[in-house]
């Protein structure tokens, strides 16, 4: 399906504003002192949550595009990925500055000795590299290496989710859900599984489904 450029531009603007909403809410709550007893923890958790969520949404673009045969979805992927990086940057900044008070000694011990922080840091470095090389110019310059480099987004997703899983004390529901989504998104990319689902969701199958539904609703009308 082709979508006019004008619509893509409007879509991008709307998506940009939508992706900013969690950050604006966070800023609003901080200014209103509505972040609770432990505002630094609230900032850390909420920025981290949104980074992982946006990264998973970014990883969902390719499967969605193929399942729905809507090629234009790809044009929103870079912005989603950059917002995942934006929230990771916010998360990392809050950690360095507000949580650890820029105490580099403590921070380096954390990164070197605490596995969940190590993984989170590595995920952040990957996202940083991908963000820096996300421009059209960089794509051109890197050529075929660009897509190889950007395969690392899968590692960032995995490390990000494990980073969350490893810091939890007893309630694994939210990180567990993210891990499940991550695994499903990876399975889409595993050859045979991908093809089977593609067939199941091909436009033919969808057309059949919609005609069945239409018959059903008209019979009942």
């Amino acid at each position: 399906m082709r979508v006019a450029n004008k619509n893509i531009v409007i879509g991008k603007l709307l998506l940009f504003l939508l992706c900013l909403v969690p950050a604006l809410l966070l800023l609003w709550d901080a200014l209103q002192q509505q972040l609770g007893a432990n505002p630094v923890e609230a900032l850390l958790h909420r920025s981290g949550d949104w980074s992982i969520r946006l990264l998973l949404i970014t990883l969902a673009i390719t499967p969605l595009r193929k399942l729905t045969a809507r090629g234009w979805l790809l044009r929103y992927r870079r912005m989603l990925g950059l917002f995942a990086f934006f929230y990771a940057l916010l998360h990392f900044t809050v950690y360095l500055w507000l949580d650890r008070g820029l105490s580099w000694m403590e921070i380096s011990v954390d990164i070197l000795e605490r596995p969940y922080i190590t993984l989170g840091f590595v995920a952040f470095l990957i996202l940083l590299a991908l963000a820096v090389t996300s421009t059209r110019g960089m794509m051109r310059r890197l050529g075929k290496h660009w897509s190889a480099l950007h395969q690392w987004v899968y590692a960032a997703g995995l490390f990000g989710v494990i980073h969350f899983l490893w810091l939890v004390k007893a309630d694994y529901r939210e990180p567990g859900l993210y891990m499940a989504i991550f695994i499903i998104l990876m399975l889409f990319r595993a050859g045979s599984f991908k093809k089977r689902l593609q067939r199941a969701f091909s436009s033919d199958a969808l057309r059949k489904l919609s005609s069945i539904l239409r018959c059903y609703t008209s019979e009942n009308a």
């Binding site: 901080a30 209103q32 002192q33 972040l35 609770g36 007893a37 432990n38 505002p39 630094v40 923890e41 900032l43 507000l98 008070g101 403590e106 011990v109 954390d110 605490r114 596995p115 969940y116 490893w166 810091l167 004390k169 007893a170 309630d171 529901r173």
Partner: protein
């Protein structure tokens, strides 16, 4: 003998306590509503002060008061780890609202001469209720300063005459998934269990707490009766206790059983022994705001003078 009438006021004219309180509430809510129009935060802050729960009768001051700013009531009552009422710090304040804490009895058994039961009302009336302002340090590296109300645990234990075999004291939280909704799901091995060595239990700093800020305990803080051991990480201070037993052996305890490498049986606050996943050298004092930074954690949470002798000769790294 002449019995003089003290006043001309008929008893029917005297405003009952409950009506008086209702009026106070009415006036207060009016003030809040007015303030709320102009400043929602102020209204919220006022509503988050104590004054809604029953005051503790005959509250005595005590010498145990740390020289630090007491944490706001609203932070102590909205930032709770009480897994029986859900995960997430702010969840228990909402889900424990309807929790009924009367009637409530505590059963005491095990290695003692006089096992039996004691009712919460008897606990409130027969032990001198003191205000104890303690530092409270969570294993998650945050802390508060809490004005508890309570009495020495030892005072209660002595009534049941523990025998020479009693080496440990074991505590159990209520197990009733109908009243504690999160007990329907796993997460922890219910009921929550904790334990102390006999000398720790008999230490004058160790209290059974019945209240907070001069009133009975809010549900989310472990009503109606909880343990407070100020030199240990918060998870030792078990909430909503229904059972206390004397035991010859060290009992299995909840968090220690779940992750033995992360949560020790002793769980003494110790800045030199890190949690495997995070440092214990510093903690964040709650209520300080975004830019408050962390403070250095002290050995035994600052109670080393009082309790260090309990652990003389013990390797505190191995017995963390």
């Amino acid at each position: 003998m002449l019995i003089r009438k003290t006043s001309g006021i008929r008893s029917s004219e005297i405003t009952s306590q409950s009506i008086f309180n209702q009026r106070r509430e009415f006036l207060k809510s009016g003030i809040y509503a007015f303030a709320g129009l102009a400043m929602p935060d102020l209204a919220l802050a006022l509503a988050d002060k104590p004054g809604k729960l029953k005051p503790i009768a005959n509250l005595h001051p005590s010498k145990y008061r740390v020289d630090a700013e007491v944490t706001d009531y609203k932070w102590i009552t909205t930032y709770n780890n009480f897994t029986e009422f859900g995960h997430g710090k702010s969840t228990p304040a909402k889900t424990a609202r309807k929790f009924k804490t009367r009637p409530w009895t505590v059963e005491v058994d095990g290695e003692c001469e006089k096992p039996g039961k004691i009712d919460i009302e008897e606990i409130l009336s027969s032990f001198t209720q003191e205000e104890r302002i303690y530092r409270f340090r969570c294993v998650e590296a945050w802390s508060m300063v809490v004005p508890w109300v309570g009495f020495p645990l030892g005072d209660l234990l002595k009534q049941f005459k523990p025998t020479s075999k009693a080496k440990y004291v074991v505590f159990e939280t209520l197990h009733d998934p109908k009243r504690m909704p999160n007990q329907r799901y796993d997460g922890l091995d219910w009921p929550y269990r904790e334990g102390l060595r006999m000398d720790e239990a008999m230490h004058p700093l160790t209290i059974l707490s019945t209240g907070l800020y001069g009133e009975i305990l809010p549900n989310q803080n472990g009503a109606p009766l909880r343990l407070v051991v100020p030199w240990k990480y918060g998870f030792k201070s078990i909430k909503s206790i229904v059972k206390i037993s004397f035991s010859e052996k060290q009992p299995p305890t909840t968090w220690n059983g779940k992750a033995p490498d992360e949560y020790g049986f002793f769980a003494n606050v110790n800045p030199k022994v890190d949690h495997p996943r995070w440092s214990q050298a510093k903690h964040r004092v709650l209520g300080g705001g975004i830019f408050s930074g962390r403070e250095k954690t002290r050995m035994f949470n600052g109670y080393a003078d009082e309790v260090a002798s309990l652990y003389r000769g013990m390797n505190l790294k191995n017995n963390f």
